[in-house]
Point group: D2
Chain length 134, copies 4
């Protein structure tokens, strides 16, 4: 069981959403933020770095948005739909753009293939949390 799930299970008040969905989203966001950080560095190590510029930019954006979202959804009591919804929507959009771009390089660069997977999984998790919060 992930730490995210373990600590949410001990939360002294209502988490306002299924703890399993919440924990799965936090884990997917953490993986995605980290995969994107490493993918930036891997892209910068490639010979064809000039062709990786869009990928680097989208990975940087995705890291920033995922990191903020981890903080916000890790504090369930503070949940304010007027903030959480657009933030999750920004996350969905960022994961989708970044996943699309990473996929374009997946055949050539294995690290982009893994990063695309992390983005897809995170996009799905954020959509599920959005649906669960309705």
């Amino acid at each position: 069981m992930s730490y995210a799930r373990q600590i949410l299970d001990t939360y002294p008040a209502s988490t306002g959403a299924d703890a399993g969905v919440l924990a799965a989203t936090i884990d997917a966001l953490s993986d995605c933020a980290q995969a994107c950080s490493t993918d930036v560095d891997a892209d910068l190590s490639e010979q064809n770095v000039a062709e990786m510029v869009a990928c680097i930019r989208l990975c940087l954006e995705c890291t920033d948005v995922c990191t903020a979202t981890i903080g916000v959804i890790s504090r369930p009591a503070a949940r304010d739909a007027s903030v959480t919804r657009p933030l999750l929507e920004a996350c969905v959009a960022s994961c989708r753009s970044c996943g699309d771009e990473c996929e374009r390089h997946a055949d050539m660069h294995e690290h982009c293939r893994v990063c695309a997977e992390a983005c897809r999984r995170c996009e799905r998790a954020c959509r599920e949390l959005l649906a669960a919060l309705k």
Copy 2:
């Protein structure tokens, strides 16, 4: 002239929005993120900390959302409206909620009065940038 403005003025490509509006938003976001961090710590130093819980939570959320937004809008070439718009909307909502709550404590706690001001200014700046990006 702020560093945000100075460095945007040397940007080698189009910044996609008026550099003055962009720089003013970055400065307002930096001030707001920092004011909220300090306000959390100041709230925790107050005797009536139990009454400051909502304020602490909203300030933590506001710091996270503003920090991500600084990163995203500081990279103008990466601008993707499907991410930037909901992120700025999350920021507007977070600054408004946090500013409202801080204002409730402004008479009693000077630090909340200053933090409310930083939130109001940041909310306005994000709205102006949203309008400019249309």
Copy 3:
């Protein structure tokens, strides 16, 4: 296998340290940052919030330091010992202080027990990475 490990295994250049140690540290840092964020919110939900102030502060600090460390060690090519070493030392110190304080509340608050565990594991992982980087 964690995403951290998967993506490091596809890294196109040397990661400068054993990929297993690096990935374990990244996972421990992500868990710790998230556990600390949730523990802050859980502490704020407790009736005896005035007694949780030190715990809240140390958890906030630990989140900030772990988040920066994830970014820095996720980009292996950029490794600069003059930055990585003191940053990991700050992380060890922050996890230790936070783990000690959480442990003090572990009997009373289950969330603090889980957070203390995440801090201990992260402290150990950072020490191992420091040793591996020597």
Copy 4:
């Protein structure tokens, strides 16, 4: 007067260091984090992006370390020398490396000249705070 100074001046407990020095450091860190974010994006817009790889990596590292340091020193009551000192040392080292690399490109790229200035000012501010905390 900066917001950092304004809010520190209303802090209800001791800030453990001269509020002017503390506020100047926070402002220098905010400027540096933002200049480095923008410089990454500007570097990625240059034709000779392959020659800017080291600069991009150092700017990313500097942004992460400065952002964590803003959080930690913005909460003066939480000050724990065993964390703050190595974190400020990591910041000094990161600003120095990043400033040196940016300076190498200053003649060719105006944005690197401005970013080098922000790094130098931040390095000096962190050194002064380290001296003040002794």
